[in-house]
Symmetry: C2
Subunit: 213 residues, 2 copies
């Protein structure tokens, strides 16, 4: 039972504890919401005394802000696949794959984001108005190019994007409902594969995507 006790340096301690706290905070905020989560509960999940949290993050709001920002950056990265593609089948297909993977592996992050946006984005409104808006316009331009190239039917790109977000994030945000309707069991590997496949097939077929020759 002699666990190798931390020979940790200062920087290591800081990094390790911040990570521990951020993980506990993400989970707790996702499960209880901002108002329902307490610093004491987050501290318990992280295995640290409450006063220690306030040493690293002065206020509950600053901790929450950091959690939401981190999630947002993970989301943005997931979209690089989008650009490297020659057409909608490859690009949108890979994007759906990536977002479904995130929904499966990190549902808590998705829930915190959803909760933040549902409450009118009190802490990340500026991100919505700058980074997200720019990102969205960029992808819309890509989709419009595909349409012009005859690689897909002329559908409204903005609403297509919303549909992709809605569908993929639904598997994270509503995972409890989906589990309940799956007889209380989490989706198996095969079920996740079928979900991803169904989503891809309906959307790609729905927009009349054609392979880039």
């Amino acid at each position: 039972m002699t666990t190798q006790h931390r020979p940790a340096s200062r920087k290591e301690i800081r990094q390790e504890n911040e990570k521990l706290i951020l993980q506990a905070a993400e989970k707790t905020f996702a499960e209880a919401g901002f108002g329902g989560a307490t610093m004491q509960l987050i501290a318990d999940v992280a295995g640290l005394p409450k006063a220690n949290l306030h040493y690293y993050f002065p206020t509950k709001e600053s901790l929450y802000r950091r959690v939401v920002q981190d999630i947002f950056h993970v989301w943005l990265q997931a979209a690089d696949i989008f650009d490297a593609a020659d057409g909608p089948i490859e690009g949108l297909g890979a994007y759906i794959d990536a977002k479904m993977e995130i929904s499966r592996k990190h549902p808590a992050g998705s829930k915190v984001w959803a909760s933040e946006v549902m409450h009118r984005a009190p802490v990340i409104q500026d991100y919505l108005e700058t980074t997200l808006r720019d990102w969205t316009e960029g992808r819309i331009a890509v989709i419009e190019r595909w349409i012009d190239q005859g690689l897909m039917d002329p559908v409204n790109p903005r609403h297509l994007l919303y549909m992709l977000w809605a569908t993929t994030q639904h598997y994270a945000d509503f995972n409890h409902q989906i589990e309940t309707l799956n007889n209380g069991r989490p989706l198996s590997d095969a079920q996740w594969a079928e979900a991803t496949d169904t989503v891809k097939r309906i959307i790609l077929s729905g927009i009349g995507a054609r392979p880039a020759t």
Copy 2:
């Protein structure tokens, strides 16, 4: 300024106040979450003293439970259209219309539901396991019949349903994000029509829906 003061009878007073409180509660729970909403704030929105809320609803949780239950019943009603249809184009099309309409008119209700499910349904888990499960199985059977009749491609009906829920509810739950990406303005009538039309077209085309002759 002499507002016709309540000649109200006992029953009328009760109905009127309960409705007032439930409306204020739905709005407040949607905006702040269960933990973030306070009885005092709900009372202010309703224009009643806080102690009066506790007269009609003994605890915050009982008020919240009532709000969620009411929303759930509205949702179930919206699906009657589903059954009366001869095929997917008519049935799913009408269902999408109905749910988009609800998302536009009552976003608060959708948000409360989403929040409840995201937090693992602490108060309506039994509904998920009974009513929602039965409802879902029923609709899956309808869709499977359409597939057998050759009215649409053989897609997994369960994931198709999730896709419908995800997409339509997204316009309510994430209305703030959508508004922000629309230059801070709510969607116009025309934009709502285009959203609904795009969703219907992609999905109905995506599942290869054919008219019932």
